[in-house]
């Protein structure tokens, strides 16, 4: 319930219509780009979006530093960020759900379980397995198959190769970064700006290291493992899940980097650091998603 006697409604603003234009141009540009036209329209939309968001966020920051934000508005921002993260949770739930459905139901059914005749009528001799190295297409069409399974997969390689297994190191990096961002928050609450900057900087660095390792993993998959986006449902789910996660880590790293730069400029106080806190919640969220990925995409495979 409201506890304020008065409430601040912002003046008219050009930012929303600019953002909507940016999104519209991006949507049209992306649609024509995937169909083979040039990417210029899409990039123009991205430029509009980046400019608008930069202006928008700096406006909000200036308003807050000018003391225009009441406690109530700050609570609205907290609600907004929390529900945004919830929407992101549901987005990942969609892809995890697809992975679960394929592994637990689709592949056994394609293999004939439950009295389905698809493995005798359509994909004769298909054997369900996970990771799916031999697609139904390969079983039925051999070399002419459109969907060829990967040569190798990303699953747990055995205890003897544990320490050369990249996903393990990715997990270590990301888990550590969740701790360091928390340390930064604690430092800020204790009025220790030097430590805050140091821990936050370290978090950004760990985020970047994670991304480098991820790129490394992708290059290795494409060049040496025959594992691509087109490698049947295993490649599909692997790259889509880890890829969207990577995109979110990129977003989170940029968000934290901006908070780091703001910290260097002297923004934030021990009791007013919503920008940083929101970014750190987002960071914990991508971390939790990674734990899910590590378990369901890498370990239990």
């Amino acid at each position: 319930m409201s506890t304020e006697s008065n409430y601040y409604v912002p003046e008219q603003s050009r930012l929303p219509i600019m953002a909507a234009t940016g999104m519209g141009v991006m949507a049209y540009g992306a649609g024509s780009w995937v169909q083979g036209s040039s990417a210029m329209v899409f990039l123009a939309g991205v430029l509009i979006m980046v400019f608008t968001l930069y202006t928008w966020f700096s406006t909000v920051i200036k308003e807050n530093m000018a003391g225009m934000n009441s406690d109530q508005l700050k609570r609205s921002y907290v609600w907004g960020m929390s529900w945004f993260i919830f929407s992101e949770v549901m987005f990942f739930a969609c892809f995890f759900g697809a992975l679960w459905y394929v592994r637990v139901l689709v592949l056994p059914w394609l293999g004939g379980e439950g009295g389905f005749a698809s493995n005798t009528l359509l994909w004769e001799g298909f054997e369900p397995a996970w990771p799916l190295m031999t697609t139904p297409d390969m079983v039925a069409n051999g070399e002419a198959a459109q969907f060829k399974g990967p040569d190798q997969n990303m699953s747990f390689p055995g205890w003897d190769k544990l320490f050369s297994w990249l996903p393990l190191w990715n997990t270590v990096v990301l888990m550590t970064s969740s701790v360091t961002v928390h340390m930064a928050h604690t430092a800020l609450k204790n009025h220790n700006r030097t430590k805050f900057n140091a821990w936050l900087g370290l978090t950004v660095l760990l985020g970047a290291i994670f991304l480098v390792l991820q790129v490394e993993e992708y290059i290795h998959a494409y060049q040496h493992m025959g594992l691509t986006l087109e490698s049947g449902i295993y490649g599909t789910t692997f790259f889509m899940l880890t890829g969207f996660h990577g995109a979110h880590v990129t977003m989170g790293t940029i968000m934290l980097l901006i908070q780091f730069l703001r910290g260097l400029k002297g923004h934030f106080t021990h009791d007013d650091a919503f920008g940083f806190e929101a970014a750190s919640w987002y960071w914990h969220f991508v971390d939790v998603v990674w734990v899910g990925l590590f378990i369901f995409v890498y370990v239990l495979a």
Binding site: V9, V34, E88, M90, A145, G232
Partner: protein
Amino acid sequence: MAHGPAKGIGRWLFTTNHKDIGTMYLWFSFAMFLLGGFFAMVIRAELFQPGMQIIRPEFFNQMTTMHGLVMVFGAIMPAFVGLANWLIPMMIGAPDMALPRMNNLSFWILPFAFALLASTLFMEGGAPNFGWTFYAPLSTTYAPSTVNYFIFGVHIMGASSIMGSINIIATVLNMRAPGMTLMKMPMFVWTWLITAFLLIAVMPVLAGAVTMMLMDINFGTSFFDAAGGGDPVLFQHVFWFFGHPEVYIIILPAFGVISHIIPTFSRKPLFGYSSMVYATASIAFLSFIVWAHHMFMVGMPIGGELYFMYATMLIAVPTAAKVFNWVSTMFRGSLTYETPMLFAIAFVILFTIGGFTGLMLAIAPSDVQYHDSYFVVAHFHYVMVAGAVFSGTAAVYYWLPKWCGRMYNETMGKVQFWISFIGFNITFFPQHFLGLAGMPRRYADYALQFSDWNMISSIGAFIYGASQLLFMFNVIRTIKAGTPVSEPKTWEGAEGLEWTVATPAPYHTFSTPPEVK
């Protein structure tokens, strides 16, 4: 704080005012309603007689697809977001929405998204033609190339919905006037709080579904292709995990509207307020665990069919509680039958019919007969049109005097109601018979034995369509030249904070929160 509306077009482009944004949502929704209605008229004109008369079958498919998409995402959803924008701050005693700039962004995305979608009609390959449910592989392997614009249009439209919902939740949870506890909130606010939660939960899943399509079409993934180990049925699961809550996203705010109008014209408080709240929450919860009842014919295991059948039937319980409460509110009330009340009563009756046919469809063994037939078309138009659209129309008549300080023409309103009511039933009641007799939905042509009912249905559709023009005329006439009204309460029996402010509602209301006892 700005004191009054800015001059010129800038007022609308740059506004942060919830009333301006609500107005834009409502007009946008009505424009889309006319566009989607035009598509429906094309469909009914073609189906007036068997054989192909007016359009090609390929174009017919585009019409059914675009009609569904435009009506669901362009007309009905924005209509209720518009009502939410206008009413929620006034109903809870807040000065505006919690995040006013994001509010304007949510609206302005929509014209871009629907311009993109509508422009596909003029592109090579034509508009989406795979049905509004866009099942793979129709929407992937066999889709026109414009499907990519459809996909990105859905993406930004989903972003708009998510931002709008975040705004509504933040407003309701954070900005209620002192003393307004959750269980004192007006029903419309309650239904929208729950609807917003549903939207945030399922819009990302829709985004996931169209992303999978995008990847399958352009980047060689095999989500929906069994050759690579995927499954076309996966699409249906993901889609309906979004799609079933989506139908409650559409109908719950309609329930909220009806829960305001019936008490007003019965001159009695709403019967069973708390049971209404719990029923709404139960429906929302159940909506997440029943999605595969749309898929009884895809070859699910029998255990799945049984589970989804029984779970679906459970929804009848909270829904029946609502209908019971509306009827009990009217029981021994001193009823009058102004236009909003006529629409509300028609809503209760016709929505109940649509609910019962839903119950029939929920029975998996019977669904073998009804599935993908005109019976389904009749069912969901009884809940979408007589449900959502009737309640939206009722809401406009009910709150229009508060919005613009002028009274609509009651006679014209009643005439419009009766034409709508009769036209609607002539259109959709015969479709039950067509479906039971075996006429499949989404077909451009049909066997001769379906001719009579199809012709009657088309005549009804033209009547219903004409009645919407009368509605538009009445609303515009009211705004331009309606009888001015100035008392805060337009309706004698109306309750709630929105009826305590001046009429027409000032540009800014409740800059100082009222005390709710």
